[in-house]
Point group: C2
Chain length 395, copies 2
């Protein structure tokens, strides 16, 4: 028997409460009963996105949401500015080019970000740009972009601010309306604690104006059509019913905890983890303190002399802990541990001990148990521990 | 307590074996373990499609698969011929127009089909047509098109033959390669007995040639990219993991029964149902014998004097049996009962008794129990009953 832990930056562990809900007999989607679920989910999603705009649920993975954020707002030949310092920023650029847009890619090295000031310069140089597309948490490098600062620059122009918040929304502070984000995208299998297969997209009235003249072709991902259907408490196409049901339970769990607490928990868990790994001499990949590390995933440089590609395999196959390696050119150079969604302090300790065991076997020199101890110290000092009467164990 | 039965033409009832599999802790999709599932599913799907071409699994509902069957093979301004005698044929035309194609719609009244001879004429009149798009089982009217005959006409030309088999493949005879079908689409929540959220698409080498010059933009639904990823036992984007796991179990159930038996079962169940409803004077909506009725769904004309819109609501809310009403202009004029996927003779009896109760309450005059008796008679005569030693019940 090997007990397994899913500690990747998505998909993330699904709580039993959600699994059990999804195992119930299937409900038909064109019924008053399911319509209540659609409407209730949409209301709860607004509280996670912090927006008064409708939040649409697409049956697709996050990339489908990213595609929708381009095809619904742009016309062939339009210019967009893409902030690109990792695999998912690059994906925005790829989608833009696939649809015949003029993509201005603001690039930075992996591990860094692009600052609001550079975006301001780019918008001056390309005043025709109709949109600025950025990651919030760039999952491939574990860097958080300054979305709030960038949005404050973009909102002064006619361009729309589009944020891929797939590993950020629901895990890090996000204020769609207050910050002036025009299109925001999130994904099921991240902080939302359900299996992959749903993408969430909301758009502002500024974006809606652009949508009305947008000529790129779209059908399955037609957001105006989805919005009209949501008004009638339904979806344009047959939805992934079981995921909608699981989402209903998961959103209730999130809102019961309170979004502020959810976000604080993610920060504390991530910070515990960052402190712990540095205690055994490991280096974060994010170029801290020049950039802010993401609170949903931590990328670590593979220490010299260690075969980096083997770390995820050892952790998974020998110690039951699934994490992620580096993607593309980062393969073997970094490894990434997720801590988002259904995650608490104990999960960090599970990750750390398995990581230590794998690193020890792969020849890295450090004192066994030291990262775990560092995590424990941080937990004692910083975590809110329930102030309850603790009785002796009895029958 | 009200015991509930999902008897719609999709989504269909999900067997407990599948629900339980999907309730297991989530597996990461970039692991050797999940790759085995991807590869095994793809091999099993080939046996359902009867093709040697790879069958791709998209995280989307069936409409996503329909969109892919247009955007991957056509260029702006191309002419396609769409066979349209129901809501889903019309959807092909809508997608084609949304992507700037010249859509030649061969129309027939709802309840009828379009014959191979008409397709031959249209191909002569529009020799520039690059594709013929048709339903196999038009879910909105319960008519089965003569896909085999139409394919034999199309294969003589340079056009590709595209079949929406969403409520047909896995329920009715289908020979993708032998019949000369170039693109075939199926959907999870139909004969595949899992919740919605996956579409299956396969394409021939003739279609692949067209794909190489196809200029319509596509990204999320890029079939060439999916095919390349399938060769590496993975998917282009994060897949709906829990649905892939459920599909694995469901496909094994289908192949263990044997596709020939699965298809025979669907025919027998459908024919039982058709005989039974006619025994109480109800009329099929499909223009039989000029067209072949679908074996996965039966559409019935609402009898005169009955408020048709109430039939599905009565059956669902009073008697626990969810069926479908008429869509669009058919609303209130027909009602549709599905019998596909996880369906056997006993399900037909459940549908019939609830339908009788609803119709009786809504004022239709007939002898209660007569359709059930007709079904029983057909079952006794026609169903293969296991030839086992039947012992008396004991402890």
């Amino acid at each position: 028997m090997m007990k397994r832990f899913l500690c990747a930056p998505g998909p993330t562990a699904v709580p039993s409460e959600v699994l059990v809900e999804m195992a119930r007999p299937l409900m038909h989607h064109r019924t008053p009963q399911f319509s209540e679920v659609v409407a209730e989910n949409a209301e709860m999603l607004k509280k996670v996105f912090k927006t008064s705009s409708p939040v649409l649920t697409l049956t697709a993975s996050g990339t489908g949401g990213m595609e929708a954020s381009i095809t619904n707002f742009m016309s062939p030949g339009d210019t967009i500015i893409v902030l690109s310092a990792g695999k998912f920023g690059e994906r925005f650029a790829e989608i833009g080019r696939a649809y015949g847009l003029n993509v201005v890619e603001l690039k930075a090295e992996y591990g860094k970000d692009i600052k609001a000031e550079e975006v301001r310069e780019a918008l001056k140089k390309y005043p025709e740009a109709k949109g600025v597309y950025t990651e919030y948490s760039e999952t491939s490098t574990a860097v958080a972009f300054d979305v709030k600062g960038i949005a404050s620059v973009v909102r002064e122009t006619s361009a729309i601010m589009v944020v891929d918040g797939i590993t950020a929304i629901g895990a890090m502070e996000f204020e769609m309306d207050e910050w002036g984000v025009d299109v925001a995208i999130a994904g099921a299998q991240k902080s939302f604690m359900i299996p992959p297969g749903l993408a969430f997209v909301a758009y502002s009235s500024k974006a809606e104006k652009l949508m009305k003249e947008a000529k790129l072709p779209r059908f399955y991902f037609d957001l105006a059509k989805e919005r009209k259907n949501l008004e009638k408490k339904t979806t344009a196409w047959t939805p992934a019913i079981s995921l909608f049901m699981g989402l209903n339970v998961a959103l209730k769990m999130m809102l019961e905890e309170g979004m502020e607490n959810v976000i604080k928990r993610h920060y504390l868990v991530a910070e515990t983890f960052r402190q712990a790994v540095q205690a055994i001499g490991l280096q974060l990949f994010a170029d801290v303190p020049n950039v802010r590390p993401s609170d949903s995933v931590t990328a670590i440089r593979v220490p010299e002399g260690v075969d980096g590609a083997k770390i995820p395999a050892y952790m998974r196959d020998k110690y039951g802990v699934t994490i992620a390696g580096g993607q593309g050119s980062m393969k073997g150079k970094i490894f990434r541990l997720g801590h988002l969604g259904y995650v608490d302090k104990s999960d960090i300790v599970v990750e750390l001990q398995a990581m230590e065991l794998a690193l020890k076997e792969l020849g890295y020199t450090f004192e066994l148990g030291k990262s775990v101890a560092a995590a424990q110290e941080y937990i004692l000092k910083n975590f809110p521990v329930p102030n309850v009467a603790v009785s002796e164990a009895g029958d």
